[in-house]
């Protein structure tokens, strides 16, 4: 790469991981998001609140989906069951939606200044992650107060899970944002794909409602279903915050493997596509 050589060690480090740039771009994202709207940050709370009301009405009341009973917590609440998986899912959706356009929307920047381009999609994801942190904290307090369901001792495991999801999402965001520079189809494809993806992830219903005894081309429905990596996240979040137990070893394995693969592939794809970004964007 014909990058300017930065001889000093502090600069080298800074070039490798531009922390200040990440922080500033993330802050830009957060600060500007609700500027000039009357409700401001209330909007970010309103979104999950509306979702939980509507989904509870439709799936719990109308369609009578029974949430699994927390084991060992004994909890039986559709709202909590839904929220512990819905919030990470919304982080997933919002991150990808915004990261897709992270490079194309910053074309003036990309064509005029050199800086590591991976910082753009990554900071979009980071901004959404900060929102998720706040939402999760509010959720933990709410269910402790309203349901008497105390999950605080699981916070370290939750943090680990969230950290892994952050890396996983960054990997996906890198791939998608870079591909979108060359094919604007990506952003439209994503819009089409995200809704079915949600219904194929156990967020609105428990995993055990997916039939294990039926087969498609000789492969069980349940097995096929679990090829979706988001199944593992939904399940693991529910284990930690709803059941109050440690996710199984296979879950962890699936999660760590998916994260590692997506992150590595994401960076490689991004690095391959980066050199011509300024002329294609």
């Amino acid at each position: 790469m014909p990058l300017p050589r930065l001889p000093r060690s502090r600069r080298d480090l800074h070039a490798l991981l531009p922390v200040d740039l990440l922080v500033n771009l993330t802050l830009r994202d957060l600060r500007s998001k609700y500027k000039r709207s009357a409700l401001g940050w209330t909007w970010s709370i309103l979104n999950p609140v509306v979702a939980v009301v509507v989904y509870s009405a439709v799936f719990s009341v109308f369609l009578r989906i029974e949430p699994s009973i927390g084991d060992p917590s004994g909890l039986h609440s559709y709202a909590v069951f839904l929220l512990v998986a819905l919030l990470p899912w919304q982080f997933h959706v919002n991150s990808l939606t915004e990261a897709t356009r992270a490079i194309t929307a910053n074309a003036p920047l990309v064509t005029k200044i050199y800086f590591p381009r991976w910082v753009l999609p990554t900071s979009s994801v980071l901004a959404r992650f900060l929102t998720l942190l706040v939402e999760m904290a509010v959720l933990l307090v709410l269910i402790a107060v309203l349901q008497g369901h105390v999950a605080f001792q699981w916070i370290p495991v939750l943090m680990l899970l969230m950290a892994l999801q952050l890396l996983f999402t960054i990997g996906l965001a890198l791939m998608i944002s870079a591909a979108n520079v060359y094919f604007r189809d990506v952003q439209h494809f994503l819009g089409v794909a995200l809704a079915p993806w949600m219904f194929l992830t156990p967020i609105l219903y428990p995993l055990n409602m997916v039939p294990a005894d039926r087969e498609f081309l000789g492969i069980g429905y349940r097995t096929l279903y679990q090829l979706n990596p988001m199944v593992s996240w939904a399940k693991a979040y529910r284990n930690v915050l709803y059941d109050l137990r440690f996710p199984s070893a296979e879950r962890w394995l699936a999660i760590v493997a998916a994260t590692a693969i997506v992150l590595v592939v994401g960076f490689r794809v991004f690095n391959r596509l980066e050199p011509r970004m300024a002329e294609e964007v």
Partner: protein
């Protein structure tokens, strides 16, 4: 900072190719169907470019539109990847390609300074240390906590320039960004460049303003159609560019013996106002009675008065004046040498004010259209071969409309209208005397 020596930028056979896709809106489907045979034409924006820019030098790059100048800067800045050769850049580099790129309109000036600084490679601590300087230079103290969408375009650009110029890179790439901001800001920008230069930093300047390239840069490269045409001392390269270019660019003089355009090597460069050491002490616009003024009517008499501390000069001086319209159009250049008027010898050097000479250039009728004009002043030796001082755009003044006809263009011809009957049998309106409507 010990100024580094050696080569700052080394290009060896550099080439950059662009793909011209005829159907720009190609989609995934089209690519899948076309397989690997995507339809595009190749266009070499840069080809086989060899260039060496030494550390601590100020280097100009000139050329017509689309010649590849900006592409070259983008390759140097790492924004574009070359398809041929690799540029070797020795030292931290910063590029001023567009001021305020990356400003977010909803954020305040303060937030944008930190953001823009981070994009340019600053740490937040770096910016905190320089924050007051940055805001002071941009003269935005009062507005720094306003969202930048409320800024005027001038304020926007000033803040962008100020952030960029405080990065203090060893190598600074500048692309035509000085054409922004008001007069005094431009001056401060040039001062700042002079300061960076004095600190031993390398500046690479792309500009259409040949005057500026001539004054600022020791060496210049002329690029045409992506290939290096000439490289060498700025005056020579600019001369050859002007000879080769189809039409002279604004701000350059086509004739030979002028003040603007081609300075001699070894001259003193001046940016900004007059300093205590300058031989030129003052320049004024005076009316025929010797009263100072800052505006003059079009077609009215005016006198340019230059006060020179000739006593400190070792030899006879020639005063040269350059008149420019505020858009940079070169209107006229004159010098006292050409007029054969003997001038200002180093008379009695003792005492204050001894040897100070007032040189007037008197114009009976200033034949230019109303507008804003600027006057540049230079001091040469008697042979015009050496330049002692050059003060570009030193004063600015208004030329006001002075009644009469509505005119357009560059000069006020100052003529009168008249009409008379040539044949009694001719049809058509008859009118007599001057002042009648000529249409």
């Amino acid at each position: 900072m010990a100024p580094p020596t050696g080569t700052a930028v080394h290009l060896d056979g550099l080439g950059k190719r662009f793909r011209l896709t005829h159907d720009r809106n190609w989609t995934l489907k089209a690519t899948m169907l076309a397989g690997h045979r995507t339809r595009y034409e190749e266009f070499w924006a840069l080809r086989d470019l060899d260039l060496e820019i030494p550390h601590g030098s100020t280097f100009g790059i000139i050329g017509g539109n689309g010649s590849g100048k900006s592409t070259l800067l983008k390759v140097l800045a790492g924004i574009l990847r070359p398809d041929q050769g690799t540029p070797t850049v020795d030292g931290p580099l910063s590029a001023l390609l567009e001021l305020g790129a990356g400003f977010h309109p909803e954020l305040t000036g303060r937030e944008n300074v930190y953001l823009n600084g981070a994009i340019l490679g600053f740490t937040s601590r770096d910016i905190r240390q320089r924050f007051d300087d940055i805001v002071g230079f941009a003269e935005l103290d009062r507005f720094i906590d306003e969202p930048v969408r409320n800024y005027s375009s001038g304020m926007y650009v000033r803040l962008g320039f100020s952030v960029a110029i405080h990065v203090e890179p060893e190598i600074l790439l500048v692309d035509e960004v000085l054409a922004v901001g008001d007069h005094s800001f431009q001056r401060r920008c040039l001062d700042r460049f002079a300061q960076l230069k004095a600190e031993g930093r390398t500046i690479v300047l792309v500009s259409h303003d040949l005057d500026m390239v001539g004054w600022l840069c020791e060496r210049t490269a002329w690029i045409q159609n992506g290939a290096l045409q000439t490289v060498g001392p700025s005056p020579e390269v600019i001369d050859r560019f002007l000879d080769g270019a189809d039409e002279p660019l604004p701000g350059t003089s086509a004739s030979g013996n002028t003040t603007a355009g081609t300075p001699t090597p070894g001259m003193q460069r001046r940016f900004g106002g007059l300093g205590d050491d300058d031989l030129v002490r003052a320049v004024d616009l005076v009316d025929p009675n010797g009263h100072r003024m800052d505006r003059v009517g079009s077609g009215h008499p005016v006198r340019f008065r230059v006060r020179v501390d000739a006593g400190r000069a070792d030899e006879p001086l020639t005063v040269a004046l350059g008149l420019y319209r505020s858009d940079g159009t070169h209107v006229a250049s004159i010098n006292s040498g050409a007029a054969g008027r003997g001038l200002a010898y180093g008379g009695a050097p003792e005492g204050d004010g001894a040897g100070t000479v007032e040189v007037d250039y008197t114009i009976d009728a200033l034949a230019v259209q109303p507008g804003t004009y600027e006057l540049s002043v230079a001091l040469h030796d008697a042979s015009m071969r050496k330049v002692f001082e050059r003060h570009t755009h030193l004063i600015r003044f208004e030329v006001e409309p002075s009644g009469g006809d509505h005119q357009n263009g560059l000069v006020a011809l100052g003529g009168t209208w008249s009409a008379r009957s040539v044949d009694a049998s001719a049809t058509g309106p008859r009118s007599d005397g001057p002042g009648s409507d000529g249409s």
